[in-house]
């Protein structure tokens, strides 16, 4: 048998089994919390019961494994602090993400819709979302006259005396691209000075570091790892934690493939040169 042309289905099977067993037999990983995540946690931990925050779910199913862990952990943290949450999204794909977060966190914690949280739904704000963000800064009711369930804005107790960004303590952006966190920094933070906390995908994280350094971002979770770190901070392990273990295992499988391929290659070359 020629190992150099190993049936690739064997590799597929190894990877699938490795990932599945990582979930079935999880091992606790020692997670060091990075400063950006700690900053995010500290910012939200300072909130008082009754304070309000905005949550923007600007991502869809394809980036869900990366961003949902952070979203769930941060939402749970807010509810633990008795902070009231207003949801919206600038992308149509964000709606199911909000629905999923609510069913996983708000429903089990028995939070009341329209009192403890409200979902304003989706609004197209142009390619950069600027028209919606500007609107939220000046007159929120004009942008979202009704909630996603069709309740009129003034009939929602939570929104009773809410006019614009100044009635919120923070804007939390779960962002997969544009429109997303950079637009909130550019329009909402620069003009209305609302603190921005964010969760972004691992690949887009490097370009956000300058904003963390300049203080335009008050904290950030990057990818699944960031989500796992936040879970560690609120002491509620979830998908982020178990996912991170699976992720490490998957990386090892890929590295193993590279190592195995090279060993086989050198061994084969020696034999043929003889």
């Amino acid at each position: 048998m020629n190992l150099q042309n190993l049936d690739r289905r064997i590799i597929f099977a190894v990877l699938l089994i490795a990932v599945a067993s990582a979930f079935l037999f999880p091992r606790p990983l020692h997670i060091a919390v990075e400063p950006p995540v700690q900053m995010a946690y500290d910012t939200l931990n300072k909130l008082q019961p009754g304070d309000r925050v905005l949550m923007a779910f600007d991502y869809g199913p394809s980036t869900m494994p990366e961003l949902q862990p952070a979203a769930l952990a941060i939402l749970r943290h807010c509810f633990q602090r008795k902070v009231k949450v207003v949801f919206f999204t600038l992308t149509n794909e964000g709606l199911p993400m909000i629905a999923d977060a609510l069913s996983q966190v708000a429903v089990p914690l028995d939070e009341k819709e329209n009192v403890d949280y409200v979902n304003l739904g989706f609004k197209w704000g142009g390619l950069t979302g600027s028209s919606v963000i500007e609107g939220l800064g000046s007159n929120m009711q004009a942008v979202f006259p009704v909630t996603i369930k069709g309740t009129a804005y003034h009939d929602v107790p939570l929104l009773h005396d809410v006019k614009n960004f100044s009635d919120f303590k923070a804007l939390i952006s779960f962002s997969a691209g544009t429109p997303g966190i950079n637009e909130y920094i550019q329009y909402a933070n620069a003009r209305y000075h609302i603190p921005i906390v964010g969760a972004v995908t691992k690949v887009t994280a490097p370009r956000e570091f300058p904003f963390l350094n300049s203080g335009q971002l008050a904290g950030m979770c990057a990818g699944l790892v960031g989500g796992a770190e936040y879970e560690e901070l609120i002491d509620h392990p979830g998908f982020g934690m178990s996912g991170l273990f699976a992720l490490s295992i998957a990386h090892l499988v890929v590295l193993g493939c590279i190592v195995a391929a090279n060993i086989i290659y050198f061994f084969g070359r020696r034999q043929s040169s003889r």
Binding site: L6, R8, I11, F12, V14, L15, L16, L29, H30, I31, A32, P61, S62, M64, N92, L95, P96, A99, G121, L127, V146, I148, G150, K202, P206, V225, L244, L247, S248, A250, H251, L252, V253, V254, L255, C257, I258, A260, A261, N262, Y265
Partner: protein, 215 residues
């Protein structure tokens, strides 16, 4: 467009740009109708002729029809005297359920196949046959190890940190990405941009018309 860039604060011109972008989006929807007619017609033909595998073409037509029926129309709901209009794609409709439980898993699973191919390519193509291949696989391995907590944990377990201090694997991975990788990518981007400018000028000047079918 060029005019818009140089006079961005002129409201009339800026408005024109918005209008053009808007027209573009509307035109795309009409263009999609053209594609859908092509798709439905060719599948219908195969079903009618009962050509090889026609049953799958029928499955395609049926799933299109079912989704179309549930998601395209607007529904008016009267509840407690209040009238709300729901789109067939809004949360809570059957169309939305199809999106969440048919479209989304299909799309995500298709995307997930990439993970398997990443592993199979690692086995097939990352062999140190020459210097180029060696550099390729070394930088890949460093960045991969540096991006999961395991890499630095091993680094510490081997007591390498007593020699290198904070210059651990995640430091090295960041260095590789921010220096040689960004330098090479800058060169690629420069080349791409120059090629793009020259291609644009050829198109705007009518020098390259091959995409139009020659003439």
């Amino acid at each position: 467009m060029l005019v818009d860039y140089f006079f961005p604060r002129t409201p009339v011109i800026h408005g024109t740009r918005e209008i053009f972008l808007n027209w573009g989006r509307i035109a795309v929807t009409f263009a999609m109708i053209l594609g859908l007619i092509n798709l439905l017609f060719s599948n219908f033909k195969k079903v009618m002729l009962q050509s090889r595998g026609w049953i799958y073409n029928l499955i395609l037509l049926v799933s299109f029809a079912v989704t179309f029926y549930f998601s395209v129309p607007y529904h008016t709901i009267v509840k407690d005297g209040a009238v709300t209009t729901l789109k067939g794609t809004d949360a809570g409709t059957v169309g939305f359920q199809i999106f969440m439980n048919v479209y989304t898993p299909l799309s995500a699973t298709m995307f997930a196949l990439v993970a398997f191919f990443i592993a199979s390519v690692a086995f097939r193509a990352f062999r140190a046959k020459n210097i180029e291949a060696l550099l390729l696989l070394l930088s890949a391995a460093v960045v991969m190890l540096g991006s999961v907590p395991l890499g630095d944990a091993w680094f510490a377990a081997l007591h390498l940190d007593s020699v290198f201090g904070t210059h651990n694997l995640s430091w090295l991975s960041n260095f590789v990405q921010s220096v040689p990788m960004s330098a090479a990518q800058r060169a690629i981007n420069l080349g791409v941009a120059i090629g793009m400018v020259s291609m644009s000028i050829k198109i705007l000047g009518g020098i390259d018309r091959s995409y139009f079918g020659g003439e």
